[in-house]
């Protein structure tokens, strides 16, 4: 019985979601309490496990038995450090976001029970990914987080942009998931099992091409879920959802699931499975995403969009680290990033609420005087993100840059450049939004956020500062046997300091102390291109949706209209009705005709019988 305690990680949020949805859909306070309680309970359970509670291996349930054992669909849980420490990030940030939501959604007229049910469903599905002991179960959780993300992005579904963004997120993810599904089947075929525990050491006897294909197909899933180039387009749009959702799902946990899955596979299959080609592709995709997103972020005006692109760029870092076979560094960055990016998003949420739902940074300004505590927390997050020495982000970014320098210096220099851009756009954001004087009415009336919003911010701010230090990172970074490696002053340190300084100075020079009322860099072609997200969305819209999809749609429409509808359905109906009309002539309703025909028939019978035909 006790060994099945980890199943509570899944059951509690699921139960909370079901109760919220079914019983308390009209009673949002109870629904919120239930969701928060379930998040708190799972966090407590997680802490207990990390503190050394050991209940043995949980039972494995066979969901769909198949005659051949390895093909059966099992549901099993892993309670190894990788999973449990990841669970701490998920449930910890989850709980804080739940609490923050209370303040953020106060006064919102939409159905809050639905919102909290969505959050609980997300906690359930994310736990499913984290704890899954086989790829099939990962995939189930994978789809479930996609679903809950769809629900929460589209929470304000009466807004057309939110509904569209939800659809876009879901459909873009489908593209990646398709590859992921193929990858899972390939894994089953190549490794003979979907179970992580059974994959170890089997990579050696498998042709490199097959391994590359398998890993890259699985990587497709991560490209979709972790919003890597070229499937990154959904993440900035997903900012249409409520800000706490952006913090939990689209910054800290769900989008990191791709990285988690890749690292999990890297550990399970061994580094041998990640062939050079596969690694090169993964690292390049990560680097391209990091660079593109950082560039675009420099010219965004929406505070949430800046953060969204920054998330993309940091995810690019992590994926790059995975591609460089530095899963340890990737998970380190995932872990510190989860805390400080959740902090940044929640801080942005507090700012947005206090400015009466204004998201444009050029309509803020002077907020440092009006909401000092919130802004201070936000600044802590910024310091961590731009990797100021001593903050958590510095250590993890350093780990990735070290790994990059060791494996492939090209990626190191890309990473350094992205770091400079990161510093630039975050400094720009802070200068414009917080310094100077208010540029709009909403910002003039801004005031400090309420307690339910400040408390999570303060906790996260503390984590953003300390989570990178060895004493805490060694115990909490989701990687078995993680050790924050000794920090050495070397080339990576000087380069990252240089890029930090470069970004800071550039931003200060361009934006001054926030006195300007519009972006001095705007107005040229490059800025326009960056504002239009380098026309990638437009390209998809025009070429893929308007071109390729339209052509296919025309062909399918022709098949549908001409062959299926015209020939098969209407044709057979026409044939039947003509035949029926012909036959109906026989039944004219005339008694005399009937008699005549039966008499004729009788005559024929008699003749046949009499003359022995």
């Amino acid at each position: 019985m006790m060994q099945n305690l980890p199943w509570l990680f899944l059951l509690l949020p699921l139960l909370a979601a079901a109760l919220d949805w079914v019983l308390f859909s009209k009673c949002s306070k109870t629904a919120a309490t239930l969701s928060i309680l379930s998040a708190a309970a799972t966090l407590a359970l997680c802490v207990a496990y990390l503190a050394g509670l050991n209940t043995g291996a949980p039972d494995v349930y066979t969901w769909m038995p198949v005659a051949e054992e390895r093909l059966s669909l099992h549901l099993g849980l892993l309670t190894d450090p990788l999973a449990m420490r990841m669970m701490l990030v998920v449930t910890g940030i989850g709980l804080l976001v739940h609490i923050f939501s209370l303040g953020y959604m106060k006064g919102d007229t939409s159905n809050l029970s639905r919102y909290f049910a969505g959050l609980s469903i997300f906690m359930f599905s994310m736990s499913c990914i984290v704890l899954a002991d086989n790829l099939a179960m990962t995939f189930i959780g994978w789809e479930m987080v996609g679903f809950s993300s769809y629900l929460l992005i589209g929470h304000w579904y009466h807004k057309a942009s939110a509904a569209d963004a939800a659809k876009k997120a879901f459909i873009t993810n489908r593209v990646g998931d398709f590859g992921f599904l193929i990858g899972i089947l390939l894994t089953l075929g190549v490794f003979g099992s979907m179970n992580f525990a059974d994959m170890a050491g089997k990579a050696a006897g498998i042709p490199a091409a097959l391994l590359t294909a398998t890993v890259l197909c699985l990587f497709c899933g991560a490209v979709g879920k972790s919003a890597q180039f070229p499937l990154h387009v959904w993440l900035p749009d997903a900012m249409e959802g409520p800000t706490p959702v952006s913090a939990l799902i689209h910054a800290a946990t769900m989008v990191a699931a791709g990285v988690y899955m890749l690292v999990r596979l890297q550990i399970a299959m061994g580094h041998a499975a990640f062939t050079d080609t596969a690694c090169a592709v993964i690292a390049s995709v990560g680097a391209i995403t990091a660079a593109l997103a950082a560039l675009i972020a420099t010219q965004q005006d929406d505070i949430k969009r800046v953060l969204a692109y920054s998330t993309l760029s940091q995810l690019g870092y992590m994926v790059m680290a995975v591609g460089l076979l530095a899963g340890e560094a990737a998970m380190f960055h995932l872990y510190t990033h989860a805390w400080f990016k959740a902090l940044l998003f929640l801080g942005a949420g507090a700012v947005i609420v206090c400015c009466h739902h204004e998201q444009n940074i050029w309509k803020m300004g002077g907020l440092a005087k009006r909401m000092p505590l919130t802004v201070l927390c936000f600044l802590m997050g910024t310091c961590a993100l731009i990797a100021i020495p001593g903050f958590s982000g510095f250590f993890s970014k350093e780990a990735i840059l070290d790994a990059a320098l060791e494996h492939c210096p090209v990626f190191f220099w890309v990473g350094a450049g992205v770091a400079a851009l990161t510093t630039f756009y975050m400094t720009r954001l802070c200068l414009v939004a917080f310094c100077g004087s208010a540029r709009a009415h909403g910002a003039e009336q801004a005031h400090e956020a309420g307690a339910s919003m400040l408390l999570p911010l303060l906790i996260l701010a503390v984590m953003a500062i300390i989570s990178g230090y060895g004493f805490i990172a060694d115990a909490l970074v989701p990687y078995a046997g993680f050790e924050a490696h000794g920090f050495a002053v070397g080339l990576p340190f000087y380069v990252s300091l240089g890029s930090l300084g470069l970004g800071l100075v550039a931003a200060l020079l361009v934006y001054g102390c926030g006195k300007r009322s519009s972006d001095p860099l705007a107005g040229n072609a490059l800025s326009a291109a960056l504002r239009e997200r380098l026309y990638i969305d437009e390209f998809y819209d025009k070429v893929l949706i308007g071109g390729v999809q339209a052509i296919i749609a025309h062909i399918i429409e022709f098949i549908d209209a001409a062959i299926i509808r015209g020939l098969c359905v209407q044709g057979s109906a026409w044939l039947t009705s003509r035949f029926g009309l012909l036959l109906s002539k026989l039944q004219g309703g005339s008694l005399r005709a009937y008699t005549f025909l039966s008499g004729l028939g009788l005559l024929v019978l008699i003749i046949l019988l009499a003359f022995n035909f």
Binding site: G588, G589, S590, L591, R592, T595, F596, G599
Partner: protein, 105 residues
């Protein structure tokens, strides 16, 4: 003794007249009478065969009993049929067979 063929020819003629009447006439009452005519034609051939197939000057009585049954059933049919025709006339004010085509329309 009149040969069997003569009876059969008479029977055939009666049957044909009955059939022709059914085909040609519209009035259901007449059609009904023609139907009776056809039954009678069948009866005649039955009795004729009974006589022709008899042994030692005795006819085959089974067949004659059968013809009595036919007559009885014809009487029952007349009772029902005439009742139907009367009911039909009350409902439609006509007994023309060509008028009975409401199901078709």
């Amino acid at each position: 003794m009149i040969p069997l063929a003569h009876y059969l020819i008479l029977s055939g003629l009666l049957f044909s007249i009955g059939l022709a009447g059914i085909i040609i006439r519209k009035n259901i009452l007449v059609v009904f009478m023609c139907l009776e005519l056809m039954l009678t034609a069948a009866n005649i051939s039955l009795v004729a065969f009974s006589r022709a197939q008899g042994t030692a000057g005795l006819p085959v009585y089974d067949v004659q009993i059968l013809s009595l049954f036919v007559t009885g059933i014809a009487a029952a049919e007349v009772a029902i049929g005439l009742a139907l025709i009367v009911a039909l006339f009350r409902a439609r004010k006509t007994v023309e067979s060509t008028a009975l085509n409401t199901l078709k329309d």
